[in-house]
Amino acid sequence: MFEGRDPIYLQIAEAIRGEILTGALQEGNQVMSTTQYATTYRINPATAAKAFAELVAEEILVKQRGVGMFVAEGATDRLRAARREAFFDERLAPVVREAAALGITAAELTAYLHTHLDQEDDR
């Protein structure tokens, strides 16, 4: 757990985002408290609190005073929108650049995409 290169609080935030995107955590669901998180994963409570603060700032989680932390209404859509932007900038852009460097034509690329997107649709 938490073997990645990023600070642990960012890895926790990313794990929670992932759970929301896959539906393991639904909008309105309560998430673990910082104390529960800290004891479950044996990490410092301040680290867990920092992760939650990050997600509150992104409006992915909302805090209900005295009750706990919940997945915000619209969190899934907000995460999807953010991921979509990142998908083009961070994933597709380098692929397109490498394709150009390898001499792969636009027609070859789009043909490949069409075939594979059709296969996805058929699943």
Binding site: R5, P7, T39, I43, P45, A46
Partner: protein, 293 residues
């Protein structure tokens, strides 16, 4: 934030000709869990004894919340230092040790102490000396934790505990710290077990501070490279490798520093996985006399 701040300025302690501490300057913020690491004889226990005002430095200044703790009754009340053995009277029965701390310590939480001792089946009617090593450690750690002192120091209290007991104690420590924040200094040789519990890490070596940093920053000072041994070797040839572990054909190498983005891209293209350096590897590197020059 509750808890005491800790500052030392150019603190030295000599035992005869030997320097236990040599110009130690340190700042530990209140309300956090700090790690104090060092090899045997590095000066950890001497430093903690100064903070607990068991002794005075030969030179330099020690301050808790800005005040000299030595013979300051209020500050001594607010300070607890527990070592795995030796800080509790061995011939006393457990229930008498509990009673002493309950009456003598302003913040002592009886329920927490009872809860922990019950969980580990510690017989109250037996004297400390007649308990096993692991049970003695449980008693010491329990007294330290239940003291709820604004400066709580746990010096190798994990010694002698088996792995499940250590794990339960770490959980108890974190849960109690979350509810009752205070300044906690943990010293342990079991670095990988407490690594993620610590907010700052201070490493002592031969009486000097070689490093005192945020744990998060420390994680970025090294990188693990994992994958096929031959590929790992080629990729790390020109880097400073401070640790290696092999598992069949797979090798994990720990390198110092943050690699260049182009290097990262190439490593990932070769199917190598990158991770944060284990604190243990950095510790061994920093406290190895072979590499010190």
């Amino acid at each position: 934030m509750t808890g005491l701040s800790v500052t030392t300025r150019d603190v030295s302690v000599r035992y005869g000709a030997a320097r236990a501490l040599d110009g130690v300057t340190l700042d530990l913020a209140p309300g956090r869990i700090h790690g104090l690491l060092g090899r045997n004889g590095a000066g950890k226990t001497t430093l903690l004894s100064l903070l607990a005002s068991f002794q005075r430095p030969d030179s330099g200044d020690v301050a808790l919340d800005g005040r000299d703790p030595f013979e300051d009754a209020r500050l001594m009340q607010d300070t607890s230092l527990m070592r795995a053995t030796g800080d509790l009277a061995a011939d006393l029965k457990i229930r008498d040790i509990l009673r002493l701390h309950r009456t003598g310590r302003a913040h002592f939480d009886r329920d927490l102490a009872d809860h922990l001792l019950d969980r580990f089946d510690i017989p109250r009617r037996r004297s400390l000396a007649r308990l096993s090593r692991g049970q003695q450690s449980v008693v010491a750690a329990t007294i330290g934790l239940a003291s709820r002192a604004p400066l709580t120091m746990l010096d190798e209290v994990h010694l002698g505990m088996d792995a499940p007991t250590r794990q339960e104690f770490t959980e108890a420590l974190l849960a109690d710290f979350a509810e009752h924040p205070r300044t906690i200094i943990v010293s342990s040789h079991l670095i990988h077990e407490i690594e993620h519990v610590l907010e700052t890490v201070t490493i002592l070596h031969r009486g000097r501070v070689v490093l005192s940093e945020e744990a998060d920053d420390l994680r970025t000072q090294g990188t693990t490279v994992t994958g096929r041994a031959d590929r790992v070797e080629v990729m790390t040839r020109d880097l400073r490798v401070v640790g290696r572990r092999d598992l069949g054909p797979t090798r994990e190498a720990t390198v110092l520093g943050r690699p260049h983005p182009a290097w990262v891209t190439e490593a990932e293209r070769q199917g190598l996985q990158l991770g944060a350096a284990p604190l243990q590897d950095l510790f061994i590197h920093l406290t190895s006399d072979r590499d010190a020059a």
